[in-house]
């Protein structure tokens, strides 16, 4: 059986097409073995990256999570003390709550919004490219310092939003971004507003749905909604799965929005203290890299569990064209 190590060596002498045409002389490979060999060859760059670049720092951070490490001098092994300290850290628990709320609210709303807009913008329309580009502008701006100021002018005390709702008769509206009860939702709105990435992916997927399938469906007299349910949704489901998994991972790890908007503090009153923001404050602000690493690995486990659950459920709702298990 071919192992990854063997494959990497083989790569130097046998690029994929050659491997197919000239089977190694010692013994004939079966079709299966040839396919496996090709698989490893295609993965060769990735293997190299995994072993050379990704894995080392990951393992190092796992080790650091069992140490006391202030970046400036050598780490000292402390066993599980970082992990046990987490349980008694009130700010850690705050960060977990804030993050769960953020993931729970922002992921479904952003995906729904992205899918809706992709469906709308996939239709024939004059200046479609321009409209699509305009709707993508928020995502182009990213979570830059400039966006942070805009968000504060919009949602700040006496900001644009306040003036609008006051116009409609809501007296003394909250200070949204400066109020601990509402600040997190301004970040949710920011996430929804930057729906461009999943929208583009949905659009790409929609373009790939063969028109024939729609034609067939309409011959059957299927109505538009049925068409959507029976053709669009199943064929888009692999990309819905993709967007869901990626947004879950990205939202659990969300850092920049809270960092730039709260000026790095996670305020007001820790109401936007995202998990990774607290991790950052510990690792870089207080130079507790060991503690930060422990937080990172707990996060990895949490994300992995959620992702695994999504994948497990996907067997029931994701439809692939390649008839592969």
């Amino acid at each position: 059986m071919a192992s990854p190590g063997v494959t990497v060596e083989a790569h130097a002498t046998a690029p994929p097409p050659v491997a197919d045409r000239n089977p190694p002389p010692r013994r004939r490979l079966t079709r299966r073995q040839r396919e496996a060999l090709a698989g490893y060859l295609f993965l060769a760059p990735w293997f190299l990256g995994l072993i050379g670049i990704t894995l080392g720092p990951m393992i190092a951070s796992l080790w650091l999570s069992f140490t006391r490490y202030n970046l400036l001098s050598a780490p000292q092994w402390t066993g599980f003390s970082n992990y046990s300290a987490l349980v008694h850290d009130p700010l850690f628990l705050t960060a977990v709550k804030v993050t769960l709320l953020y993931v729970g609210v922002s992921v479904p709303s952003q995906l729904a919004f992205a899918l809706l807009l992709a469906l709308v913008l996939n239709r024939g329309m004059r200046a479609l490219g321009l409209v699509r580009a305009i709707y993508y502008v928020p995502s182009l701006l990213g979570s830059s310092v400039a966006i942070a100021i805009v968000w504060r002018t919009l949602f700040g005390y006496d900001g644009t939003i306040d003036r609008i709702v006051e116009f409609f008769g809501w007296h003394n509206p909250p200070a949204w971004i400066d109020d601990p009860h509402t600040a997190i939702y301004t970040l949710v709105v920011l996430a929804i507003w930057q729906f461009g990435a999943p929208m583009i992916i949905f659009l790409a997927g929609l373009r790939n749905i063969p028109k024939e399938l729609y034609e067939a469906a309409s011959v059957d007299g299927a109505r538009r909604f049925a068409q959507f349910r029976k053709v669009t949704l199943p064929l888009l489901s692999p990309l819905i799965l993709f967007n869901l998994v990626l947004q879950v991972i990205a939202s659990f790890q969300a850092f920049t929005p809270a960092y730039v908007i709260s000026g790095g503090s996670g305020g007001p009153a820790n109401s936007t203290l995202f998990y990774t923001l607290y991790l950052y404050q510990q690792a870089f602000g207080q130079l507790n890299m060991g503690y930060g690493a422990a937080m990172a690995w707990l996060l990895l486990v949490a994300i992995a569990l959620v992702t695994a659950a999504i994948f497990a459920s996907s067997r029931r709702w994701v439809f692939y064209m390649d008839h592969q298990s």
Binding site: L72, G156, Y157, D179, S262, G267, P268, A269, G285, M289
Partner: protein, 451 residues
């Protein structure tokens, strides 16, 4: 008349903590120059790192060009960034033993980096008024430097950092608004209690939407330090723990809470907005929302260009009768040499150039603080580039600096305290925690951070 420097030397010599004694207690000698010649490499490439905005970048790059033109064969590569990202980058580089040759540091980073052997001791590269500064070096001339600021760059009796200029706590106020209200700024030697009644008086005469004072309970200036030092000889015990208890923290927060309840300081949400903004442009004083804000003196010349109203400086309020002096002149930032520098003599030479070369001193002005030696302060005053606010800062420090105490020496781990106390102050301001709850929690977090 006793000059400011002499006074400080005196004050520092008597009032400073034990750590200072070996440095300052010895009898003064004339500047001692080592006979040993420093060997400089013919060609060298050093990296110089600092944080700051565009004004500082331009001034520093001007000095670098000057330095390179006078030292053929030596090349300086600048590294600059804003404050928060700067230290993230420096910490990563320090972890890899890769700190830039010359690195700008501030506050607790000097002891932190020195304790962990990231910095080169400058004892052998500098000379000054005191024998301790003259262990054979002849690169950095520290004669006439303010001993208090030198102390700020000294860790375990070794000099690790050279001050780039000093500043001191100061209250910045909006003079125009006070005049419009038909009032005068608070008189000299006012106390915290008098400040409160002054604000009450002012509040009656201010237009609506303008608060008498910024909420500086957690941010802005070194308010808590000054408050504590008016009652305690020091902030930290020799073991590096806080020298005061929860009770003191509660008293401090209560003072601010009282002002808040009377509507004398900006509400928590406005303060939260200013923390989020993080820059001068978001400060309530600059935005015309507050008349007073507690800061350092060098902020005058940063606020003034952003405002139409005229701004001025006064000293922090004093404690009640019998209190200690709480304010201090401090080095606002330092240059240090990395322990891993391949050209330490060139790096030290560059630092000397920045703090002593007349052209460089003029180019840098008072942007990083007022030069720590009288001779260089005079040099700066000749510079036509000095603004009226810059001159006001120099005059302020000349008047009040001599009345201050020596800067409290903070332990390396104290860097984390800023955010801990800021969080506590904000919890109280926004009503998410009571004063006693917030104080308890801040105290226990602080103890953990310092241990």
């Amino acid at each position: 008349m006793v000059s400011r420097r002499d006074f400080l030397r005196l004050a520092a010599g008597t009032a400073a903590a034990a750590a200072a004694a070996p440095l300052l207690g010895q009898s003064a000698s004339a500047s001692v120059r080592s006979a040993a010649r420093v060997k400089y490499p013919k060609s060298a490439d050093i990296q110089v790192a600092w944080w700051g905005g565009t004004t500082r970048d331009a001034r520093t790059e001007e000095v670098i060009k000057l330095f390179e033109s006078q030292h053929k064969g030596w090349h300086v590569t600048p590294f600059f960034s804003d404050f928060s990202n700067y230290f993230d980058a420096m910490n990563v580089k320090a972890a890899a033993g890769d700190l830039p040759d010359v690195v700008q540091l501030g506050g607790s980073y000097v002891p932190e980096y020195a304790d962990e052997h990231q910095l080169l001791s400058l004892d052998n590269l500098s000379y000054g008024d005191k024998a301790d500064h003259a262990k054979g070096g002849s690169v950095i001339d520290l004669t006439g430097f303010d001993p208090g600021q030198l102390l700020g760059g000294t860790v375990n009796r070794h000099l690790y950092a050279v001050t780039l200029g000093g500043n001191m706590p100061a209250v910045v106020y909006n003079e125009t608004l006070i005049k419009k209200a038909g009032m005068q700024p608070p008189p000299k030697n006012y106390t915290w209690a008098e400040f409160e009644s002054y604000l009450e008086e002012l509040k009656k005469k201010l237009p609506s939407g303008v608060y008498p004072c910024d909420d500086n309970s957690g941010t802005g200036g070194p308010v808590m330090s000054v408050w504590v030092l008016q009652k305690y000889r020091r902030m930290y015990t020799p073991a590096g723990q806080l020298a005061f208890g929860v009770k003191e923290l509660e008293d401090y927060f209560s003072y601010w809470q009282n002002l808040r309840n009377k509507g004398l300081i900006v509400p928590g949400t406005l303060e939260a907005a200013s923390i989020q903004n993080g820059t001068n442009e978001g400060n309530p004083l600059v935005l015309g929302q507050a008349v007073f804000t507690f800061q350092y003196s060098n902020f005058l010349s940063q606020y003034q260009p952003l405002m139409k109203d005229k701004v001025g400086l006064i000293r922090y309020p004093l404690g009640p009768k019998g209190s200690l002096v709480g304010d201090f002149v401090q080095a606002s930032q330092f240059f240090s040499v990395s322990a891993h520098s391949k050209a330490p003599t060139v790096a030290a030479n560059f630092i000397n150039f920045c703090v002593n070369n007349p052209h460089a001193v003029r180019a840098l002005g008072v942007e990083r603080g007022i030069p720590a030696a009288v001779r260089n302060e005079k040099e700066v005053l000749h510079s036509p580039r000095l603004t009226a606010s810059d001159r006001a800062e120099v005059a302020f420090e000349a008047e009040y600096g001599p009345l201050t105490r020596a800067e409290p020496v903070a332990p390396g781990k104290s860097g984390a305290l800023t955010s801990i106390f800021q969080n506590a102050a904000q919890d109280i301001a926004l009503g998410t925690s009571s004063i006693s709850q917030a104080s308890e929690q801040a105290m226990s977090l602080a103890r953990r951070a310092l241990s």
